[in-house]
Amino acid sequence: SNSLTFCLLQFSLSFGIQDDHKLSASELEEKYGTSINKGLSSSRAAEILARDGPNSLTPPKATPEIVKFLKQMVGGFSILLWIGAVFSWISFGIQFAQGAESPFDNLYLGVVLALVVILTGIFAYYQEAKSTNIMASFSKMIPQQALVIRDAEKKELPAEQLVVGDIVEIKGGDRIPADIRLISAQGCKVDNSSLTGESEPQSRSCDFTHENPLETKNIAFYSTTCVEGTATGIVINTGDRTVIGRIASLASGVGNEKTPIAIEIEHFVYLVAGVAISIGVLFFIISVSMRYKILDSIIFLIGIIVANVPEGLLATVTVSLSLTAKRMAKKNCLVKNLEAVETLGSTSIICSDKTGTLTQNRMTVAHLWFDNQIYSADTSEDQTTQPFDQSSPSWTALSKIVTLCNRAEFRPGQENLPIMKRVVVGDASETALLKFAEVILGDVMSIRAQNKKVAEIPFNSTNKFQLSIHETDDPNDKRFLLVMKGAPERILERCSTIMINGKEEPLDSEKAEAFQTAYMELGGMGERVLGFCHLYLPENEFPDTYPFDTDSMNFPTSNLCFVGLLSMIDPPRSTVPDAVSKCRSAGIKVIMVTGDHPITAKAIAKSVGIISATSETVEDIAKRLNIPVEQVNRREATAAVVNGMELKDMSLQQLDDILCNHSEIVFARTSPQQKLIIVEGCQRQGAVVAVTGDGVNDSPALKKADIGIAMGIAGSDAAKNAADMVLLDDNFASIVTGVEEGRLIFDNLKKTIAYTLTKNIAELCPFLIYIIASIPMPIGTITILFIDLGTDIIPSVALAYEKAESDIMNRRPRNKKKDRLVNEQLAVYSYLQIGIIQSVGAFVTYFTVYAEQGFLPSTLLGVRVDWENNAINDFEDSYGQEWTKYQRMYLQWTGYTAFFVSITIQQVADLIIRKTRRNSIFQQGLFRNKVIWVGIFSQIGIALILSYGLGHVTALNFIPLRFQYWFVAVPFAILIWVYDEVRKLFIRRYPGSWWDKNMYY
């Protein structure tokens, strides 16, 4: 645990843990006022509980709900709409005071605007709360129980009620319920990976072995797991005062960066608000200088703001994001923060853990060596057979040792599960061997039963071997079989012969050389190698009554027969190499950051393609050219394996240099703290960094990353809390599908926004022309809201279901600074081209309605003042007929409805063209996205209901419209489609041309 010293020292320094590990049991009893045998009294425990609080981590400070809610009420366009509402009320106040006839219109408009803000705010709040709730369900796991001695009795208590001084008992499989100083331990091993990132289980005893409380063996830490054995200990820290608790609070100190999509949306809101305010103010000035009354000018201003602001858009974006989030959840990416959905898409660097993410997180037999030959084993997740040649009698001997010299056992009751999925009691290597044997030989437990064990020496770190003696299953063979496995060099030392093709041959130097070569080769692949040997004990010396004594070792442990080597590795997940190559073609750099040994790390990196087959590290080049490492031109090496120890001495500049100049990087033996440094380094390059992590001390890096990805299975709560996303299957490949979804939603949001912005011009133009040409009002403010929040909503969400136009995984990640969500081209094309066509189409309908009722276009110009005068009830039309005010208003509302219908009809065309940005609609398929059609039908359906169903509700200003007016704008809708097809054709035909640059958004 050399590599950990660095970070652990850091911990000790900053945390100043107490000296409990140095104290003796009696001193501890005294210090905590407890008794090892009797434990605390219940009353004393209650007192301490009252003093220290419950033994649980304080959840990160949540923003008060009301603050979250209010934030939704003022964010985005809300401010603009509030201004509109306030202006409405002001003008209502003035009109009311002046005793005007219908001041209530403005009151209602203000109320409607306020309602719009409040409702969209509630909606956004609800969406956010919903996604937060998903996470909450994670942290609410089954309350942990702890076995405590209190009042001299053993009790099961919820771990939350533990207090300092409690005596707790732990056994294999338990989570350590608090920081514990051990006072007795039997074969206890703990998995500290959530704390230190070290995946190897560490043994625990009651001995004081190290000055540093974090290195000493007699302290077990809260939230780590006891893998095997049993232990008893005194609780020395609870809750936030535990080591984990302190790291968790450290993580909350690292600020959260704004997500790229949040920045994009902000940019977009500024843009639209800027347009709205400038046009509003401009026309306010124009109308004042045209001698409109100030009050009228204010009302125009409200109209312009309402027309310009896409009220429904932010809600639509939220819905689209949450739809994608749902889709990603199905693919095992659970997104905590909706905006993170897109962040994943813009990711340019993924810093991935090795264990569990890239690999299967279980040791598996990868290679065998017997009969002087290396065999490869199948390491896939769902192996059911092993293909290598099993005909040699040496294999039979080897398989017997593997089966018998093994203490691991399957938990009972799993007979129906696939072998690889069964739970095993035992350490990682033994588990691997057990499963390996079970796959090949079948029922291992019955083989063991037939070969009864008579004596056993378990593995220990001094002799580095494991030995057991068995009766044989051959009733005629009365010999005992001694089997042994262990570190290969130690095993070889004890052997005098070696089995070749089932025959024992003397172990000469040539054979020893062959062993060395094989051992080096397997070790060089980063695999953990074990040696196996056996000896049949002569029947005459060891009769069946022979009393084997493992303490005095009254049996031979040397001059054994060497049988073979088995090497194990935590193999890569089978889906990972493909995912890594996808990342590569998607321009995403995958950096492996692991606590493992460089050789293992490099081997895995090579096998999954993080280091590609052809690339070399500086060391590889040096080896190939046979020159010292220093003489190698560092630029030639595309790959780099950086050791945590080297990283420690590096300046930021050197780190940047490595990150910049190598496309394939592996950081090995790194502490989780160094992960943070690496993440910051990547961010300095301007990259959007995704980081995976599972341990508690990964949380600072997870928070710092643009998108932190926690492991759902192996991940600690703290990591899940700090992360933006949780990988439910811990699989790297899921990240890649997430990236794909993220990129798709970015493209689709572009389409949604383009779609939504377009009709704003068709809503705005009426106001501008109304002010300048003084025609009767073409469209009402309320009508506009019905488009923005009615007909347009479902279609714009439907665009979120659009399939990608081309392989989005074949292009580079978007450049944060250049590839904006809403760029100039998008705004210009929507506003100044399609929007204008829509306006023209809608105005044609408007003029048609008026003309066919008797007001020819020429009559309409400049009539506004008389038209709106309540006292003029004999307003003459182009044919000499006279109209009352109400008859005119009714006609005006018919105009509103016609204008509304025209925009809706043209929005259908707009929706269809927005399906693609480059490809022809016919390439994309008009009917592939069914939701678009739901959108189109809903759009028309809502318009029909508004016109014919609610046409008699005066306040809404909708009128049952003559059927033919629905078709006036159809030619313009067709024009929009045709024009856009031409635009796309030119973009495809002439890439890089003036047209492409100005027309592609």
Binding site: Q853, N873, Y879, N998
Partner: protein, 280 residues
Amino acid sequence: MTKEAKKPFRQSVAEWRQFVYNPDSGEFLGRTAKSWGLILLFYLVFYGFLAALFTFTMWVMLQTLSSDIPKYRDRISSPGLMISPKPDTALEFYFNKSDANSYAQYISTLKKFLETYDDSKQSENINCTPGKVFDQNDVADKKACRFNLSELGQCSGKEDKTFGYSKGTPCVLVKMNRIIGLKPEGEPYIQCTSKEQDMVEINYFPPGGSIDLMYFPYYGKSLHAHYLQPLVAVQLAINSNSTNEEIAIECKILGSPNLKNEDDRDKFLGRIAFKVQMTE
């Protein structure tokens, strides 16, 4: 850590200036002269095309319309009532019968309004058969019926140049909105009432406030150029002790089943309400 430092003000001004005009690339507002030229040309063509398209569709639409009668007349199925003179502020008459200036505006409006009814202007108009709808569907040259100002009696402005305003008996002309093709049924007449019955006595010219059917139907401005709509003069003889009081008057068209006068929303459909306040 990676937090960007705020740009100094001078730098952002420089950047802004660079954006407005970049001497290195010759870019003005982010585009070169050529680029601006192209984009302006594009929009010239684009909007030119749209303008042409708009004009064309409007032309096509106008071609489908008749110049004589509008395509649809369903939005004005029943006529509104209106009065002349129409006060500037709402429909409230305020005048002082002894101050000619206070009602000069009303009188000039009335005079102007009645100019078209002058006999000299009605030379081409014919005398029609009273009490009968004057159908001219088959006639190309639609004739207008003569409306003799004398029908308005004391309110014709002939005898009393002040239309009764100086005497405390102000005249108000009530007219029915012109609607093409409208043929009133029955015997329509105008009836005005006041809640304050004792304050005012109401006289009608022609007697009974009747509107003769011979003035209908109307064939529209182009076919029926000399058409004059029938008028009913309402003379309000305000009780001498009701001066200074505000008198609310409501006039309705009655006697014709197809002329609406009770619409909830349209307060002017077949009816009109106004107020008169006379001082001395």
